[in-house]
């Protein structure tokens, strides 16, 4: 019993450290893939880590009218991502509290970070930040139905919304290609793209304030605060991509405790996340950003796929 707890702790810690590094590296990888396809060499994969290191050595700033919310938001964003990194089954099914963390909890802890950022933008008292906050809130509100219905469909198959058991159910079944599952995963994937501010919903590389969604919210942050936000956002991306790939292809995740299985789990996780990240950036290069008011159409489609998935889960059992 005691050793199980110890091993869960080690697994959580390993995941935490993995996430801290994997976030910026995934960002670097995605930029690299994009550059290569655009015909450039692009920055090194480790460049985001250098950026973070440099940002940490700069002075923090705050706008004149900002309150404690402005300075607390980056902390909340990163803290929520760290907690989920330690407690969700990414590399191992046996992490701390694995029997008590379910998908809904993960979703709402992520929301905690998003809300912190939405509020911090309004706290700056500038027009662009308010605009970004309003748009991000709209996209978030449209994403949630798709995400929740997709989660419901996946949970219906397993009879539970507990994350570890959901992933475990995926490990156990031989047929990965049930219609309910595929539909739910597609819906979930679109929602992940929207939630993490990737194309075609938001362009993370834009410099024009009027075309920004997420970027407009963080125009006021500098130095370590900006580093925290970039870092937190990248960890959220990796977290969601990791969860997605574990739900889609749970192979390789550690189902037993022990150093070897944990190592294999981390390796498999890294591979899966890298593949999905490369896929996402390939997709990003080939699509244009949607007009802001076409985004709800995309998300409504994802929602419909989720509903179809729920119905197939019920009809085809």
């Amino acid at each position: 019993m005691k050793s199980t707890l110890l091993w869960s702790g080690i697994a959580s810690l390993a995941q935490l450290i993995w996430l801290v590094l994997a976030g910026p590296l995934a960002l670097g990888l995605m930029r690299k893939v994009r550059s290569v396809i655009e015909g450039r060499d692009g920055a090194r994969v480790t460049q985001p880590l250098r950026d973070l290191r440099k940002l940490a050595a700069r002075q923090r700033t705050r706008p004149t009218d900002a309150t404690w919310i402005f300075s607390a938001a980056p902390l909340v964003l990163v803290a929520s991502a760290l907690v989920l990194g330690a407690l969700s089954p990414l590399a191992s099914l046996h992490v701390l509290m694995s029997s008590r963390v379910d998908v809904v909890a993960v979703l709402f802890v992520l929301l905690l970070g998003s809300v912190a950022l939405l509020l911090s933008a309004l706290d700056t008292g500038t027009a662009f930040a308010g605009m970004g906050s309003s748009r991000a809130a709209m996209v978030g509100a449209m994403t949630e139905p798709a995400l929740l219905v997709a989660i419901l469909a996946m949970s219906l198959g397993a009879g539970t919304s507990n994350l570890a058991r959901l992933v475990d159910a995926g490990v156990a079944t031989s047929t990965l290609a049930g219609p309910a599952r595929i539909l739910a995963l597609v819906s979930f994937f679109i929602a992940v793209l929207a939630e993490t501010g990737r194309l075609p919903v938001d362009n993370p590389a834009t410099h024009l304030e009027l075309t920004m969604i997420h970027e407009a919210m963080i125009l006021e942050y500098a130095g370590p605060d900006l580093a925290l936000i970039t870092w937190g956002e990248s960890m959220r991306l990796v977290l969601l991509v990791g969860l997605f790939s574990n739900l889609a292809l749970p192979w390789g995740i550690a189902t037993s405790v022990g150093a070897l299985s944990l190592g294999v789990g981390l390796l498999a996780l890294t591979l899966k996340v890298a593949v999905v990240a490369i896929g996402v950036s390939l997709f990003e290069v080939t699509t244009a950003k949607l007009r802001l008011f076409r985004v709800p159409e995309l998300l409504a489609g994802a929602f419909l796929l989720g509903v179809l998935s729920v119905i197939s889960a019920v009809a085809l059992r």
Partner: protein, 666 residues
């Protein structure tokens, strides 16, 4: 226990009398009496919950038709307890708020009467007592909604809507309850419940639908919700807190009373109707909350939204019961109660906060506010807690409710029954949509009102609420945090309240576990982990700043792309914040937009001014009530021909009526 009841009633009556008669220290003393009265009721409720036995007391010769009959069941005790908690906070708050408004005799007496009646309704053991208390509650709150009529003409219109809807609702309830009582030959609820087995299906359904309509209008269920945003917005701070935190609950209490206690063998479609009403209400409420710019109107629509979620859980419970899934039914009923109690706690926090803002600035229009968090630090923190709780952000209490709702719906979908599956899927969709919209609404409510820069003189001249107001807000906000971090505080009480109605469905102190269903959640550890991570990251930030020799945070002018002048008016307003949603749901909300561009005379290329007007009136009011009222008015005009003032004509009507009666009775 009878002594506690006596304490409640006597102290309540004293509060009414003191409010109506005294001129010295009217508000403090009558508030004190109200606190004593509510504390008495709360103690009574806690005793009933702790022992699990009913408390009964009756006095047959006070009222006709069965007399006063008090019968406090654990379920009723749960509602009494919630009402009492909100009432204590509101009364304390009132002592400070009275400096701003609501210090007059009629207002004081009505407030006391309102509070007392809220405590008595769930104690009622027979139809007469129930209707008597219900009417007192309706009338006293009506007076309070209209109390500021001299200064605000809007409050008269609000009061008129409220009066019509609440009396119509009371009429429907009376019809249903009296009908049931007539069938059972007794006004006692217990006798009605035993007699209901002999009731034919159609009759039972008719009574249920009448009761549902009446109670649903009290709970702000679409399409009977139109009074709610008007009345809640116009009522003074402590009254809207009571209305939203205690009165609308009683609508739900009524639905449970009739649907589960009095008519326990209802057919499945009743609950399908409840589910559909709940889903619609949640969606409409959330949409209007996300697009409102009046702070209290936003809170009121959010009340509708939350009651919709409660009905979804209630509907899922009923559906699961009829498909023989008693465990899911118990879980869903417990969920409904958890959602309800959560809502009472955070919504009264929010309404008290909104009242403080209104008292400090004289405005409820968020477009005129901004930057209040520096001027009203405590109010802003309590409002933030309430806003995060209603948005179901962990680790606050709203999160537990949302999680339980998802679990109930997930497990209710596991049944093979068509109605459950259809209702469950719709319910999850409605819940998810409202979840997102609620976040927009409350990020807006808090962010636009309290953050950024003050948009007008009113906002810049605000001051923090008085001590007693802060105490009340702070206590309620603390309750939100406590019940969020340790949900057992709430779940345990709810389980005791449902002792007679449903089997226990949730267990565990630090970790909530669903009995014999899969699902567990541990907000306590989760919040611990969050706090730890927060400390870690904060430590890192301080450390790197210090290592690189930065003693403080540089305070710089906000970056405005280098433009010369940035005014507070350039910030996003509540209207603009909700605009994307207004556009996306254009087909549903049908907003009125009007863009008026005038050019200078000399050249069309130069604009003199642009005026943009957008109104977002309730679509149900516009397309359902207004046409109905117009029809009624046209009809009334035609009928007026009959009354032209001639006495002979009136006498002729009398004669004709007499003749008709004689013919019929022959």
């Amino acid at each position: 226990m009878t002594r506690l009841l006596a304490l409640t009633v006597v102290a309540g009556l004293a509060a009414i009398a003191w409010g109506a008669l005294s001129s010295r220290a009217r508000v403090p003393l009558s508030a004190l009496a109200l606190v004593v009265s509510s504390a008495g009721a709360a103690t009574l409720a806690v005793r009933v919950l702790a022992t699990g036995t009913n408390f009964a007391w009756s006095q047959t010769n006070v009222l006709p038709l069965g007399g006063l009959d008090v019968r406090l069941t654990p379920l009723g005790a749960l509602f009494v307890l919630v009402s009492a908690v909100v009432a204590i906070a509101s009364s304390v708050y009132w002592t400070g708020y009275a400096r701003h408004a609501m210090a007059g005799r009629s207002a004081s007496a009505s407030f006391a009467l309102f509070t007392l009646s809220l405590l008595v309704v769930p104690m009622a053991g027979n139809v007469t007592t129930f209707l008597f208390a219900w009417e007192l509650m309706a009338l006293s709150s009506l007076i309070l909604v209209a109390h500021d009529h001299a200064r605000r003409p809007e409050s008269i219109s609000a009061a008129r809507w409220y009066a019509v809807m609440t009396q119509g609702g009371a009429g429907a309830i009376t019809l249903a309850l009296v009908g049931l009582a007539a069938h059972a030959h007794s006004t006692r609820f217990s006798a009605i419940a035993t007699a209901s087995t002999h009731l034919s299906g159609a009759v039972a359904s008719t009574f249920f639908l009448f009761a549902l309509a009446g109670f649903a209008s009290k709970a702000g269920v679409v399409p009977l919700h139109v009074w709610l945003p008007k009345a809640h917005a116009e009522a003074p701070g402590p009254v809207s807190a009571l209305m939203s935190g205690a009165m609308v609950n009683l609508g739900v209490y009524g639905i449970i009373l009739v649907g589960r206690t009095l008519l326990p063998q209802g057919p499945q479609w009743w609950w399908l109707v409840v589910s559909l009403l709940g889903g619609t209400t949640a969606a409409v409420g959330a949409l209007y909350a996300a697009t409102s710019r009046d702070l209290k109107r936003l809170l009121a629509y959010s009340t509708s939204d939350n009651m919709g979620l409660v009905l979804l859980a209630l509907g899922a419970s009923g559906l699961s019961l009829s498909t023989q899934h008693p465990r899911v039914a118990s879980l869903a009923l417990a969920t409904a109660m958890v959602l309800l109690v959560n809502h009472s706690l955070f919504k009264s926090t929010l309404f008290l906060g909104a009242g403080a803002v209104h008292a400090a600035t004289g405005s409820r229009n968020m477009d005129e506010l901004g930057g209040l968090s520096r001027l009203m630090p405590l109010t802003s923190v309590t409002f933030l807690v309430g806003a995060l709780a209603v948005s179901a952000i962990p680790p606050l209490n709203g999160f537990t409710g949302e999680w339980l709702l998802f679990q109930s719906l997930l497990h209710s979908l596991a049944s093979h029954d068509v109605a459950s599956v259809v209702a469950g899927t719709l319910a999850v969709a409605a819940m998810a949509l409202t979840g997102g919209l609620t976040i927009i609404a409350f990020v807006k409510a808090f962010g636009i009102t309290f953050l950024g820069r003050g948009r007008t003189e009113r906002a810049l001249g605000a001051h923090e609420a008085t001590f007693s107001m802060r105490v009340a807000q702070g206590a309620l906000a603390l309750a939100c945090v406590a019940t969020g971090v340790v949900p057992y505080l709430l779940v345990g009480v709810v389980a005791r309240g449902l002792a007679g109605v449903a089997s226990p469905s949730i267990s565990g102190w630090a970790t909530l576990r669903l009995s014999s269903l899969s699902g567990a959640l541990t907000p306590l550890f989760l919040s611990g982990a969050l706090l730890g991570a927060l400390a870690l990251v904060a430590g890192w930030r301080t450390l790197v700043q210090r290592r690189h020799g930065f003693a403080n945070v540089a305070t710089l002018e906000a970056w405005g792309s280098g433009r010369h002048h940035q005014s507070p008016q350039m910030q996003y307003t509540a209207t603009s914040y909700g605009e994307p949603i207004l556009r996306v749901f254009d087909d549903v909300l049908r907003p009125d937009r009007d863009l008026d561009v005038s050019h200078v005379v000399e050249s069309r290329y130069y604009l003199e001014r642009i005026r943009y007007r957008a109104s977002n009136e309730d679509v149900i009011e516009r397309f359902l009530y207004r046409p109905a009222l117009a029809l009624l008015r046209a009809w009334a005009r035609r009928v007026r021909v009959l009354a032209n003032g001639s006495v002979h004509r009136y006498l002729a009507y009398g004669l004709a009526a007499l003749v008709v009666i004689l013919v019929i009775l022959k």
